[in-house]
């Protein structure tokens, strides 16, 4: 995939990964910094969106500041042959932010479906977990909910400018 991203794409990513400029013509402002035209920046951004390199352009709410203060990593043991079908259903629930199939680590870790559940308080998270259990029905062979007790680090992946 990286072969499809050239040096101009990379420059646009570096210039926008901290955010878009809050000016009436934000893509023109990015283009001016990079010596490109606004049209070229927009064409490349649309292409990166189409490739899925950009998930979306928009606002990332701070869920903690907005009152969603509880989150639990719910992990489930579901039959391997059912996981793709049920994973998509669990991922579609409004309170689930991340949903993945990951490997079991037997014997100590029997869980293969991971779903991060958010709520305003722990009771809402518990209600979400109960809703997942109900959705899974007979495909649910066991689960655990891991609440975070300390946050030691939270940054994102950042591309480094060429040195």
């Amino acid at each position: 995939m990286v072969g499809r991203i050239d040096s101009h794409d990379r420059a646009i990513i570096l210039a926008t990964q901290a955010g878009l400029p809050l000016v009436p013509r934000p893509y023109q402002a990015v283009a001016d910094r990079l010596g490109l035209t606004a049209e070229e920046v927009m064409v490349r951004l649309r292409r990166l969106l189409a490739l899925g390199v950009i998930r979306r352009i928009g606002a990332v709410p701070n869920h903690y500041a907005l009152g969603y203060r509880a989150n639990g990593m719910s992990v489930w043991d579901v039959p391997d042959e059912r996981i793709s079908a049920v994973g998509r259903q669990v991922g579609a629930l409004s309170f689930v932010s991340h949903c993945y199939h990951r490997p079991r680590r037997l014997p100590e870790w029997p869980y293969n479906l991971f779903a991060m559940v958010h709520g305003r308080h722990r009771r809402e998270v518990e209600q979400g977990v109960a809703a997942i259990a109900e959705l899974l029905g007979g495909d649910h062979r066991g689960h655990a909910v891991l609440y975070s007790t300390r946050l030691y680090k939270k940054t994102g992946l950042r591309l480094r400018p060429p040195s």
Binding site: G19, L22, V53, A59, V60, G87, A92, G156
Partner: protein, 147 residues
Amino acid sequence: MDALDRAILNTLQDGFPVCERPFRLVAAGLGISETTLIERLEALLAAGMLSRFGPLYHAERLGGAVLLAAMRVPTADLERVAALVNEFPEVAHNYARDHELNLWFVIATEHPARVPAVVTEIESVTGLKVYPFPKREEYFVGLRFEV
């Protein structure tokens, strides 16, 4: 936050247009001016209601790699081991969680070859086993908060 802030947040979680005057287009849909929208966004960012505003990149599709991993750390050692893990610039997130596997962290790097190397180095500096939980399939990433 008033009703307009909430309307702005709900609208902009869905996406932002790529066109010459995107703020003017979004503002028109909300029945406000381009200037008002930009000022509200500046205030929401300054107040920390928004973490960021702009493109969200997909690390793996940029050629990078991401790995969730966990460790079983003796409780008395948790702070010390968490600090050792934090020292790796490739560690993007690091949380204590209430389980036998009690330290959960995410390795995110532009250089996929660094992932197994970081796992080995963390095992070496901590003397503890790292349990990798690579993604087999992704069903959903994102969250839409109605505010």
